[in-house]
Symmetry: C2
């Protein structure tokens, strides 16, 4: 594909092309898993459907992810990591912007995919424990980052619960978004609660 | 069944037994629909499954609810009405109790059933519009009751958004409850947010 410059050739020598391809395939499968879950829900998202969406053979997909549960928990973990990376890149100008960024985490196709996985997990014992463990880990990470973005002092009584409640509110706003586009309402709620949280955190 | 007293005989004459039975069957179907949705999700909840759960023939079920969408939107509407009735029966001692009662609306099997319906509706066009309409109606009713229970003065700037954000938080807490029983965490968040809302509403 195109001309290989000496620099690219060196970097390709350091990372074998086969490993590169394998990593790209894995990433494509995870992105397709998220897209399928968000668009078709759990019952419509089999490994075959995801492999086809990713343009990968079923065998190659199973080489990366032996079971459907492996594929989808890895997909949500991947989503969570992408969201953390995106959040880390933010340097909010103030608490209002920090609150808006946190709420944004819970809307869009990434949250939608996670929601489908949670609902499916609540009825699928093989999936339940893994998703609960993953959700606990993701939740702790989101909390840690929220504390940092908001500059919250958790030694103050109530500060921890204020931040937790804010993340719960963000999750509830994401759920409301699932059915109808209520961006205008969401903005008003977020603006008011940014003021309230700012005051509560001192 | 048993001895019919004169009083009962009179009331049965006023309301024909056939209509009574029909109403009881309808109610049993709606309760079974909620139970099936909460336990098995949308894909596992067909009209046949619900009819069997209710101990009703498939034909009788279809007499009441011609389509699957009819049955499940009626079920969520029934749930919403039951919740409204329960809320109306509450006379909270203060705002903290009001907040706790509102949050309770969003946990338990009723919310769980509604959540399954929402997620299914986001992927099923026939269901989507009806559920969005229903959700809008239920949401407005929940808001109206929250304003009343909290004694909020919506003419004050920000009061409306404060109440809305609280209901979004309750929804988010309900979603967190889906995967793991975090009753202790929930109680701490609710206690802190009750204080915050009390102050914000003045």
């Amino acid at each position: 594909m195109g001309v290989v410059t000496p620099r690219a050739a060196t970097s390709r020598a350091a990372t074998p092309p086969k490993q590169d391809r394998s990593r790209a395939t894995r990433r494509r499968l995870l992105e397709s898993a998220v897209a399928c879950l968000a668009e078709r829900g759990w019952s419509g998202s089999t490994v075959s459907v995801v492999a086809e969406h990713a343009g990968v053979s079923r065998g190659a997909a199973q080489h990366h992810f032996p079971t459907r549960e492996d594929l989808f928990t890895a997909a949500v973990e991947y989503v969570a990591e992408e969201r953390s990376t995106a959040l880390r890149a933010i340097t909010p100008a103030g608490r209002a912007e920090a609150v808006a960024s946190l709420v944004d985490l819970y809307t869009g196709p990434l949250f939608r995919a996670a929601l489908h996985l949670w609902v499916a997990a609540s009825n699928e014992p093989q999936l339940g424990d893994r998703v609960a463990e993953l959700e606990g880990r993701v939740g702790r990470e989101a909390h840690r980052m929220a504390v940092e973005l908001l500059g919250a002092d958790e030694s103050r009584p109530g500060a921890r619960e204020t931040v937790q409640g804010l993340l719960d509110m963000a999750r509830g706003l994401g759920l409301a978004t699932l059915l109808r586009d209520d961006g205008a309402r969401r903005e008003r709620v977020v603006a008011q609660w940014a003021r309230i949280v700012d005051e509560a955190l001192g």
